[in-house]
């Protein structure tokens, strides 16, 4: 076990060195956690270029770190293993004790929770889903679980919840007709539909909510956090970041504060998280 841990360390260290050769001699890279919205490799495809740019721009070496599942990643966050995290689970009540600081949010339109069914299926409204299987990424998901669940409860519809691990899994199960509906966020739905070339019938769309936030652990020095925050926000205007944004199809980060996510906290509280 010790050997394996050492190997992982070495592996991740090697990966970090390869990413930021310029600062590897001065400081060890900080961990940048990303909530499990996609498979690790797809996550890395998106985030490795961003982190590479931010590391370069900020001078703060960052490396992607995530657990195999949302829970593992949340646990890492809870254990303080992550210096920066791209998530909104920190707004759950259990993490209130750690005073994470929101330094930016995912740019673009606010995200909404959606419930989709098969485009050629018989379901057209939430009531049709009563007693039916509905796939969710996980119970930790906000827009893709908490928000739709609140809507279903408000509509008096009780469904059989099927946890698919992430949004890819939820839509994949619907596509395979393993479930009758799936709940994801609106932006992921668009990306998935474009990527897979499949259309779904949307029967629920929530109010807009700010996308996931980039939070910093309170132990980090302010300068480091500020450097990272600037780099993140500067991507929209930094010419060097343009290819990265183009590659990952991302409009850039927006400035955000903890205040922007009070609504999210309320939702989590309503569902008991």
């Amino acid at each position: 076990m010790t050997t394996r841990r050492t190997a992982v360390t070495l592996l991740l260290l090697g990966a970090a060195v390869a990413v930021a050769p310029g600062v590897r001699a001065q400081t060890a890279p900080l961990t940048f956690g990303v909530l499990n919205q996609q498979s690790p490799s797809l996550t890395a495809e998106r985030w490795n270029p961003i982190l590479h740019h931010v590391s370069t721009a900020s001078g703060v070496p960052l490396r992607l770190k995530m657990g195999r599942t949302v829970d593992e990643t949340d646990d890492m966050m809870g254990r303080g293993e992550l210096d920066f995290v791209f998530t909104n689970h920190n707004f759950q009540t259990e993490y209130n004790a750690i005073a994470f600081r929101v330094i930016a949010r995912w740019g673009g339109e606010p995200i909404r929770g959606v419930i989709v069914v098969a485009a050629d299926g018989p379901f057209t409204q939430l009531k049709d889903l009563a007693g039916k299987k509905v796939a969710f990424p996980s119970r930790d998901a906000f827009v893709a679980y908490a928000v739709p669940l609140v809507a279903l409860k408000a509509a008096g519809v009780f469904v059989e919840e099927v946890m698919s691990g992430n949004q890819d899994g939820a839509l994949a199960q619907l596509k395979a007709r393993q479930v009758q509906a799936a709940a994801v966020n609106s932006r992921f739905l668009k990306q998935y539909s474009e990527r897979e070339g499949v259309a779904f019938r949307q029967i629920y769309l929530s109010d807009p909510y700010p996308d996931l936030a980039v939070i910093a652990h309170p132990r980090l020095p302010a300068a480091t956090v500020e450097a990272v925050r600037k780099a993140l926000l500067g991507m929209k205007t930094d010419a060097a970041a343009a290819p990265v944004l183009e590659r990952v199809k991302f409009p850039g980060f927006e400035s955000a504060t903890n205040q922007d996510y009070e609504g999210v906290r309320r939702i989590y509280r309503r569902i008991g998280q």
Partner: protein, 752 residues
């Protein structure tokens, strides 16, 4: 000694092993190369499929999952080394290689035949720009080698089975195929030991059958040859013994004419033993030829065989012996002559017999000559007085006589003619028996011959009131080749007999052609009468000489009984036969056939008969020594109107011809001083001299240039040879005695 069977089996085994081995190795190598490609492709594919999963695991730093993924992917052990290395470093981060490598069942030597090279594949695990590690895999050839080893063993097993089966089949074929050869060898050995009857049974194997047949044929030929050799050897031994012990004189000489072998007969003849004779020169055995003083035997050796001479042997201790010597070449085994074989035969007895036979023949010929001379003399001596009798009777008949006198003259004439017929018959038969008669082959008209013959009997038949008729069938040719005189003689005899023995009734002659035209002409003639007939028991005798049906016949009808005998002989000479049918008291029919030749030439134009010249008076010289005949000839010729001078010898005839002119000469043959033949030759010689101008004719002689004096023989020699002698001497015609006026006139008419 190597065995063909072992050789074939060994070579077959080696060939199959080499071919199959080479083929198998080539096939295995090809499979190995193909397997290399498949393994490499499979390794790439496996790695490519594993990398996305490994990426997920490495992104989250989950090496356990990564190891599980790798072990699952390599669950069949296709990779013998599976590692994840640090980026840009050989340091191994994760080693998922199988703890136990797939065991190699193929032996090392087999793997050595298949050097399967499987390179290490490296796949970088990255999510740009982060490199998480390098997946290094190295394939395992064990599975392929094991599979190929299994296949190779199966092929080898099949090869062994195939080879074993093939060897068994080839072994059986060779055993069966070689059996005749073994038999052949065994029989050849037996043949070599002298067992000549050794043969090889026939075989159906086409490759060996000719050899077997050839051996059997050779053995048969050898057996036959040796049998022949033994037979010849035995025959040679017998022959040698025969020759050795033979009383025939047989010996050999070399090319140098010295004696090389000598048998018992030679010892007995020459009196020398073999050891004394061998080496002796051939010349010493025989006397030299009386004329040339050269030994004939020496010449004999140089003569082409078969050669034979008669000479005289010179025995050592006995008088010379007449011998016949035959010589043939003595040939050696190589066909070249090495000497001569001489066979000598004592011909003393034969010589003596030949001498006796010669003497007997000479005596017989002398007797024959004496007989002929006797007959000729008798004929001559009988004809001479008969000529006087008949001549005088003929002359007397021409005078005026009383009835009684005329009857007497007729009797004299008839008796004379009968006697003449007897003489002619006897002479004819004698000539025929002596072989002195030959039939002529001249063209003539058979129809005319028949008609002429019957015409001669017209007067006689009329006197006896008999009807003589003839029928000649249309097929009888007008021209043929034969002897018309002999044909007439036969007809005269038969018709004469018919007339003679027929008191009343008819005599019929019929002639027809009976041949098929292929080989000459054959005529069948019959003479039928209504006479007294012939008893059946006598029919077979009537053609024998001096035989008549009844001895009383000759007394009653006259005749010598020679007519039919002569007829039979003449018909035989003319290629035919004669036979008779008869009924006593009813008549007889005599048949005969003759063969005639086809007339080839055109029928000669018949010259118009010359106008009958009135008889003119001729001066005729008659050379005749007999007074009576002189008188008869003179009277007859004078009666014909000629003037006649008679001389009594040939010399007298020559003198008369030289002194006077004569138109024709009648020349007797037998005359004193100079006979008629000599006189004729002399006369013709003088004529030739005169004609050639070497001698001037005397005036008032019969000789003149360009004239030939006609000479007619007038002789009692009636035999053909005499006639021929006369013509050969230069005479122009021939009249035999006894003569009459008619014959003389006819003869004169023919020559003048």
């Amino acid at each position: 000694m190597s065995s063909l069977r072992a050789l074939v089996l060994g070579l077959t085994t080696a060939a199959i092993v080499i071919v199959m081995g080479a083929g198998l190795v080539a096939d295995l190598r090809q499979r190995a190369r193909a397997a290399e490609g498949h393994l490499a492709e499979d390794s790439q594919r496996r790695a490519a499929s594993a990398v996305p999963l490994l990426t997920d695991a490495l992104v989250v730093g989950d090496l356990a999952t990564a190891e599980q993924i790798l072990r699952k992917v390599n669950s069949d052990g296709a990779w013998r080394r599976v590692q994840i290395l640090e980026p840009a470093s050989p340091r191994v981060v994760l080693d998922a290689s199988p703890a136990t490598q797939q065991s190699a069942t193929a032996p090392a030597w087999f793997r050595g035949l298949l050097p399967i090279a499987l390179p290490t594949h490296r796949h970088v695990i990255t999510v740009d720009p982060v490199v998480y590690g390098v997946l290094a895999v190295e394939g395992s050839a064990a599975a392929v080698e094991n599979e190929l080893w299994t296949q190779a063993r199966e092929v080898l097993s099949l090869t062994v089975v195939l080879l074993a089966t093939l060897l068994v089949v080839i072994g059986v074929i060779l055993t069966r195929g070689l059996r005749p050869i073994r038999t052949l060898a065994e029989r050849a050995a037996r043949l070599g030991r002298g067992e000549l009857s050794a043969r090889v049974p026939e075989t159906r194997l086409a490759e060996i059958a000719p050899t077997v047949a050839a051996f059997n044929s050779m053995a048969a030929s050898l057996e036959q040859l040796l049998a022949e050799v033994r037979t010849k050897e035995a025959a040679n031994r017998r022959l040698a013994a025969i020759v050795e012990q033979s009383e025939e004189v047989i010996f050999t000489v070399g090319l140098d004419q010295r004696i090389t072998s000598w048998n018992l007969g030679a010892e007995q003849l020459f009196g020398w033993r073999g050891d004394a004779a061998v080496g002796r020169a051939l010349d010493t055995l025989f006397a030299p030829d009386a004329g040339t003083r050269e030994r004939q035997v020496a010449r004999l050796l140089a003569t082409r065989p078969p050669a034979r001479v008669e000479t005289t042997a010179l025995p050592g201790s006995t008088p010379p012996v007449p011998v016949a010597v035959s010589c043939s070449p003595l040939v050696g085994d190589d066909g070249a002559q090495i000497g001569h074989i001489l066979v000598v035969r004592d011909i003393t007895v034969r010589k003596r017999n030949e001498q006796e036979m010669q003497q007997a023949r000479e005596r017989a010929e002398a007797g024959s000559r004496a007989k002929s001379e006797f007959l000729a003399t008798m004929s001559h001596e009988l004809r001479t007085p008969l000529n006087g009798i008949l001549g005088m009777a003929d002359l007397l008949g021409g005078t005026s006589l009383t009835a009684e006198q005329r009857e007497s003259v007729d009797i004299i004439q008839g008796s004379g003619e009968a006697l003449l017929q007897v003489i002619n018959d006897v002479l004819d038969l004698s000539r025929i028996e002596a072989g002195h008669v030959e039939v002529e082959a001249i063209e003539f008209d058979p129809r005319q011959a028949v008609a002429d013959t019957l015409r001669a009997f017209t007067a006689q038949a009329q006197r006896r009131q008999l009807a003589v008729t003839s029928t000649v069938a249309p097929g009888v040719p007008e021209r043929a080749v034969g002897d018309p005189g002999r044909l007439r003689q036969v007809l005269v005899n038969l018709v004469g007999n018919a007339v003679k023995f027929t008191e009343r009734g008819t005599v019929t002659v019929e002639v027809e052609r009976v041949d098929d035209g292929a080989d000459g002409i054959e005529l069948h003639a019959l003479v039928r009468d209504t006479g007294i007939g012939i008893p059946a028991d006598k029919l077979s005798m009537i053609f024998e000489a001096f035989t008549q049906a009844d001895s009383s016949m000759s007394r009653r009808y006259g005749g010598t009984g020679l007519g039919l005998a002569i007829t039979g002989r003449l018909v035989g000479l003319m290629g035919g036969r004669v036979w008779a049918e008869s009924q006593l008291g009813r008549g007889s029919t005599f048949h005969f056939t003759v063969r005639l030749g086809q007339a080839t030439g055109e029928r000669p134009a018949v010259a118009p008969a010359p106008a009958a010249a009135p008889p003119r008076a001729l001066r005729v010289l008659v050379a005749e020594d007999n007074k009576v005949n002189q008188h008869v000839a003179r009277r007859m010729l004078e009666k014909l109107g000629h003037s006649v001078v008679v001389v009594a010898s040939g010399r007298g005839a020559l003198d008369a011809v030289a002194a006077d002119v004569f138109d024709v000469v009648f020349m007797d043959v037998e005359m004193p001083d100079m006979d008629g033949l000599a006189a004729t030759r002399a006369l013709r010689t003088i004529e030739a001299e005169v004609r050639a101008g070497r001698q001037a004719p005397k005036p008032d002689s019969s000789y003149s240039a360009g004239r030939r004096i006609p000479i007619i023989a007038l002789t009692a020699h009636a035999m053909t040879m005499h006639q021929e002698q006369c013509l050969a001497a230069g005479m122009d015609d021939y009249v035999s005695k006894p003569v009459n006026s008619t014959a003389l006139a006819a003869a004169i008419a023919r020559v003048v």
